[in-house]
């Protein structure tokens, strides 16, 4: 049985933990709103881009001279995994679940005798992966010093990836991130970005029999479009990641706050019992002392 003093200290400490988690939860809720807003604002661009690409890719499919970014290198030997996670913890299993998905993929690819290279985006993913696969990480980046992720950061990552592709350093690139399904559900997702997968289920406008006029010709447009499409995909993944991180953080902190509340109740009960027991004990001592006289 802990002493009254010890119980009192523990209650005080759990109370301050509760205050911290509560504050963190509210911060996450505010940030989540902003992140969702940004994700929504970027959607029109992505959707349009997908529409345009679907259109072009359909006509370039049978073209043997299609750019390598669409067609692939023809090999399937070296895989590049881009693992995007958050820079901060305190968001439940968010980072770990992305890393776990990536790790399963690494094990599978290595089992098939393929070479794996890793790029980590965000500090947490790097921390978790470098222990096991430190020698596979070819590049890492994080946004610790950036307040708000913009298209510029996405472009930086994309241009790094593209220059590696041009140098023939990998055949297939896959992006890992936490897709934001809803506030309570974030799904770790793997998405292949190189060779580009033409988006499916995109509605292409009915041209009413007219033929597209391309200026310059289709190939040149496709060549200019594909690197941008890669950047757009990275950008979307980063935005979704931010939203997912905040959502995960919010629910993790909500749980923590509730747990702290339960613990305070339990400890207070224990404290009151101990206090009563002590009073009873003192009373018995006084009474039995008086009887003895």
């Amino acid at each position: 049985m802990p002493s009254l003093k010890a119980l009192k200290n523990r209650i005080a400490s759990v109370k301050s933990t509760k205050k911290i988690t509560k504050a963190k939860q509210m911060v996450a809720a505010a940030k989540l709103r902003r992140a969702e807003e940004r994700a929504r604002e970027s959607r029109p661009y992505t959707e349009r881009m997908e529409g345009v690409l679907a259109n072009l890719a359909a006509s370039a499919k049978d073209n043997p001279n299609a750019p390598a970014l669409l067609r692939g290198t023809g090999a399937d030997k070296t895989h590049l995994l881009i693992v995007a996670t958050a820079d901060k913890g305190l968001c439940g299993g968010f980072n770990s679940s992305i890393v776990r998905l990536a790790r399963e993929r690494i094990v599978k690819l290595q089992g098939e005798g393929k070479t794996v290279k890793i790029i980590t985006v965000g500090r947490k993913g790097n921390d978790q992966l470098k222990r096991l696969y430190g020698e596979l990480i070819v590049w890492k980046t994080n946004f610790v010093e950036i307040r708000q992720i913009g298209f510029k950061e996405a472009q930086e990552i994309a241009s790094k990836v593209l220059s590696m592709f041009d140098a023939g350093e990998f055949d297939v690139a896959t992006l890992f991130y936490g897709r934001f399904k809803s506030v309570v559900s974030q799904v770790p997702t793997a998405q292949q970005i190189i060779p580009a997968v033409a988006p499916e289920g995109v509605e292409t406008p009915d041209l009413k029999g007219a033929v597209y006029d391309y200026e310059p010709e289709e190939d040149a447009i496709l060549k200019a479009l594909l690197p941008r499409y890669a950047a757009v995909q990275v950008f979307r993944a980063l935005l979704e990641n931010v939203a997912s991180e905040q959502a995960a953080s919010m629910s993790a902190m909500d749980n923590a706050t509730r747990n702290a509340g339960d613990m305070i109740d339990k400890l207070t009960l224990q404290y009151n019992r101990a206090r009563q027991a002590q009073i009873t004990k003192e009373l018995i001592e006084i009474i039995s002392g008086a009887e003895a006289l």
Binding site: R38, Y45, P205, L207, A224, R228
Partner: protein, 132 residues
């Protein structure tokens, strides 16, 4: 003016313009072009420059840094990498871009493509600077 052109201008970070207009002028890679309602399906790459949006007697000018324009029967869509209304553009910003482009051009390691891109940007930005 029964017919209007539906025009969308989107950048990765947000949608800048969406609505019905009379005419849009944009800087295409093979020359500037104008789009009126009922234009044939058409697609082109854009150079950095100013997009002019005309509605009635009103003209809106928006600077875009590269991107794509697509005309479908539904209207015109411009996917800009970056778009800033000309009114919000400052001389300092342009000067900075000119400096960046000059640096790229002076960079000995840069590939031919980067240099070409930098040179185009440089010319376009200087034109813009003169126009302001």
């Amino acid at each position: 003016m029964a017919d209007k052109l539906h025009f969308n201008l989107v950048s990765p970070e947000k949608e800048l313009f969406s609505g019905d207009v009379d005419m849009v002028e944009a800087p295409g890679v093979e020359g500037a072009f104008g789009v009126l309602p009922n234009h044939a399906p058409f697609m082109t790459v854009l150079l950095p420059g100013v997009v002019k949006v005309k509605t009635g007697g009103d003209e809106k000018r928006i600077f875009v840094r590269g991107g794509f324009a697509e005309v479908t029967p539904l209207g015109l869509t411009i996917l800009a990498e970056e778009a800033i209304p000309v009114a919000d553009l400052s001389r300092d910003m342009i000067a900075e871009r000119i400096k960046n482009a000059e640096q790229d051009l002076a960079d000995a390691d840069a590939t031919l493509e980067t240099k070409l891109a930098a040179e185009t940007t440089l010319t376009r930005m200087k034109e813009l600077q003169a126009a302001l």
